[in-house]
């Protein structure tokens, strides 16, 4: 291992800010880096009084012994982490990899679709498909050009890359489903699609491929506590069957997922979350720290 054993586990070794709300943390945990596979997630507890939040693994580097997390500051915990997680600080808890790794099968031509928060976690999947010899079409959605990140990383592992922005300031104008339509028109032989992002986006992606019958895998990120199958907070409806996203997923067949149910369940702690975020803003003002800018509504 090329990692320094004297450095603490869970130490943040690199940080990058992609925008006002999106930031990257590269965390040292050689064992976790060795075990991680595409599609898995970790649970992070930033400090002793913190909550446990699930975050999909955006990248792992076995040589450096690190895992990379890309986080959007949307709630109290992620905004607090945006302020406190500096290079050299240590996360109170980091556990994983959790969930069943994505099944990288024998697909020959794959669409890897990432929207907003989902762009980072779809990267390991795109890379894994590329390594398995598939033709990979990356489709990434952002609100505007300023929010685009990792374009180079995706270009390196995708045979084609379609950028979509809401305002057309980069790539094509429109949602990722626009990009998917283009890709499907050009390639009638796409045999698989992976879509990761806000539930409403994944729902759209699943609808976009349903008619063509393209197998579509989505990665679900519902509210959970332990991430080990113990609390049942992350239960999702897959067809008529109830599954736990943490141990039965997080990947599921997008054509079977009940997205409406998922979106309602993500609202579960809405009131409390808002209250916590307001209190956090207040405390930031008290400490004369500039509060993080207003957040977007996605995810729970």
């Amino acid at each position: 291992m090329h990692t320094d054993p004297t450095r603490p586990r869970n130490e943040i070794v690199r940080r990058e800010d992609f925008s006002d709300v999106t930031y990257l943390l590269e965390v040292r945990h050689p064992m976790l880096a060795r075990a991680a596979r595409a599609g898995q997630f970790v649970i992070v507890m930033p400090h002793e009084h913190g909550e446990r939040i699930p975050l999909t693994i955006a990248d792992f580097d076995r040589e450096r012994g690190t895992v990379t997390l890309v986080i959007q500051a949307v709630g109290k915990t992620t905004r607090e982490m945006q302020q406190t997680c500096k290079v050299g600080t240590v996360l109170h808890a980091l556990v994983g990899p959790m969930g069943i790794p994505s099944h990288i099968g024998t697909a020959r031509k794959v669409m890897c679709v990432g929207g907003g928060l989902g762009v980072a976690p779809v990267f390991p999947q795109a890379r894994a498909y590329k390594e398995s010899g598939a033709y990979v079409i990356g489709i990434l959605g952002f609100r505007n050009r300023d929010l685009v990140f990792w374009e180079d990383k995706f270009r390196a592992c995708c045979d084609e890359l379609i950028l979509c922005t809401d305002d057309g300031s980069a790539g094509i104008k429109g949602l990722v489903t626009e990009g998917m339509k283009q890709a499907m028109a050009k390639h009638p032989d796409i045999d698989e699609c992976v879509a990761i992002g806000p539930p409403v986006m994944m729902k759209g992606c699943a609808e976009a491929t349903r008619a063509a019958g393209i197998k579509t895998v989505v990665s679900l990120n519902p509210v959970m506590v332990d991430g080990t199958g113990m609390c049942g907070g992350c239960r999702v409806k897959i067809g008529e069957i109830v599954k736990f996203a943490c141990v039965d997923g997080p990947d599921f067949d997008g054509h079977l997922v009940d997205f409406d149910d998922l979106m309602f369940r993500l609202q579960r702690f809405k009131a409390t979350e808002r209250e916590a975020a307001e209190r956090f803003n207040e405390s930031c003002r008290m400490r004369n720290i500039e509060a993080a800018p207003t957040t977007e509504g996605a995810t729970g």
Partner: protein, 513 residues
């Protein structure tokens, strides 16, 4: 000079009561419900033990604590000695004294109980355990390193018991825990008012003194597999005590509404994640105003009483059988009733009702009556036609049991049974050599002490498998020591007239030497 013979007539007739917090007060706080005995209480209660030669209590205890000896040592005011006796077989007296279902175990078969209330063995055990914590006693025997490394998966009661035994046998023991704190169900499950986390931490500190290492934030199966532990990480033997854990739901309409959750989630948020101290801790758990808890086991009682303490106005228990069949400990149901929990016996939920906003407005139930006994020997509940009624509730908690956690099965080639639990033989050996399993992950949901018993049994098998002989000496009953016997009769026996002849010998009582 034989001690004066005790009889059922000469012992204190009344069981020494344990002081409790007033139900009205305690229903709104998380402090412990039952206070421990004071010294005078313990001495009085210890005096109630007849020291009967039959010792049914020892057999009634899943880990066979030498109950009469520890009680006798209390009467002799040799309190440290009492602690030594208990810890020879049970490392966690302060925990077990609180959470064991003694009424079905040691106290359930107590000879005194044939005519009077049985000796309060659990309260005495707790008293000894608490005194040890307060006085800082710990029994760290001299341990000869055996050179073997043992990995334990799960830091709950089964794992802790196995770890302690293997450490005493000289092994280098590491316990892996997925949560950020060790203790398993003792930490996340059992609430503060029944088992304070400080007590669990104190007991864990003793295991650390034995040289046991705890590695938290380690999800075995996913971070590394059981096979890797043996093949790559240098563990000579592994014990799996991961518990059951995967909560069951009923599959009735409305279960995915916000406001429906498992007791595991409720308890974990409240106990381990300190949601009751929100916002000083970040984990939320908005209390229901009116809560219905489905099930009547110990977990259900914990969930009901936690909701009350979190500030719910009305908390109801819904159970399809009657009070008699309820699996919770009698004491827990009694405490819950005292605190004002409403019980709907012979009631089964049929639907969780939507408030129109994806929240809960109530629980539709049907009345039940008891029919013929089923496979479990309990009378089968049958719905009464046309008896539907609604219970008002904005939170519904499921406490109807758990299934096997799938992670170890997903990530190893261990043989599982048809229900997903790990398959073991009599010695608790799994299908992989050197790998043992015990507790809920083998048997399905059971009690803390049963899990500890399984951990200890697995440890014994593991020692045999590793070829560790003579390591039982640290547990060996003092009475097996030849130096402590006179003509084959234990010196510890108070009343020689009551010593039974060994099986197969003459049936007449042994003569006084």
């Amino acid at each position: 000079m034989a001690a004066k013979k005790k009889t059922i007539r000469t012992i204190p007739q009344e069981r020494t009561p344990a002081r409790e917090q007033d139900p009205v007060v305690r229903a709104r706080n998380f402090a412990e419900v039952t206070h421990g005995y004071r010294v005078e209480d313990a001495l009085l209660e210890a005096d109630r033990c007849l020291m009967c030669p039959d010792q049914p209590c020892v057999r009634g205890c899943p880990v066979n604590i030498d109950i009469p000896v520890f009680i006798r040592k209390i009467t002799e005011k040799n309190f440290h000695g009492a602690y030594d006796t208990i810890t020879a077989t049970n490392l966690l007296p302060a925990v077990c004294g609180r959470v064991c279902p003694q009424e079905n175990q040691c106290e359930g078969v107590c000879t005194v109980g044939d005519s009077l209330e049985p000796v309060a063995i659990g309260r005495l055990e707790r008293w000894v355990g608490d005194m040890a914590i307060a006085e800082g006693w710990s029994n760290v025997p001299y341990i000869e390193p055996s050179g073997y490394r043992v990995g334990i998966v799960g830091s709950g009661p089964a794992g802790m018991a196995c770890a302690a035994d293997m450490a005493k046998a000289g092994c280098d023991v590491t316990v892996f825990e997925a949560f950020h704190e060790a203790g398993g169900v003792l930490k996340y499950g059992i609430p503060e008012f029944r088992l304070p986390n400080s007590v669990v931490d104190a007991e864990i500190a003793k295991l650390v003194q034995l040289g046991i290492k705890f590695e938290c934030n380690t999800l075995v199966g996913r971070l590394f597999s059981i096979e890797q532990m043996i093949e790559e990480m240098g563990f000579h033997a592994v014990f799996i005590g991961t518990g059951a854990g995967y909560p069951s739901f009923m599959g009735i309409p409305g279960e995915s509404l916000n406001g429906v959750l498992s007791a595991n989630e409720l308890l974990t948020r409240c106990n381990l994640m300190h949601a009751r101290e929100f916002p000083s801790y970040d984990t939320p758990l908005p209390p229901g105003r009116r809560v219905a808890v489905i099930g009547a086991g110990n977990t259900a009682m914990d969930a009901l009483r936690v909701c009350l303490r979190l500030g719910s106005e009305r908390v109801s228990c819904v159970y399809r059988r009657s009070r008699k069949e309820a699996p919770a400990r009698a004491e827990e149901i009694h405490h819950a009733e005292q605190e004002g929990i409403e019980f709907h016996w012979l009631t089964s939920p049929v639907e969780v009702l939507d408030d129109g906003n994806r929240g809960v407005r109530g629980l539709r139930c049907v009345r039940m009556e008891l029919g013929e006994p089923d496979a479990s020997g309990r009378r089968r509940p049958i719905p009464v036609e046309g008896s539907e009624f609604d219970i008002e509730a904005d939170m519904v908690v499921y406490a109807i049991g758990t299934n096997a956690n799938p992670i170890i099965g997903q990530t190893s080639r261990l043989k599982l049974n048809s229900r997903g639990y790990i398959d073991t033989d009599e010695s608790l050996a799994t299908s992989i050599a050197g790998v043992y399993a015990g507790g809920d992950i083998v048997t399905g949901a059971a009690t803390v002490i049963q899990a500890m018993g399984a951990g200890r049994r697995a440890a014994a098998s593991m020692r045999a498998w590793l070829g560790l002989r003579d390591t039982d000496s640290v547990y060996r009953d003092v009475r097996d020591d030849p130096a402590r016997k006179l003509f084959g009769i234990e010196l510890d026996e108070h009343d020689f007239a009551l010593v039974r002849a060994p099986a197969g010998a003459s049936t007449t009582p042994a003569a006084t030497p």
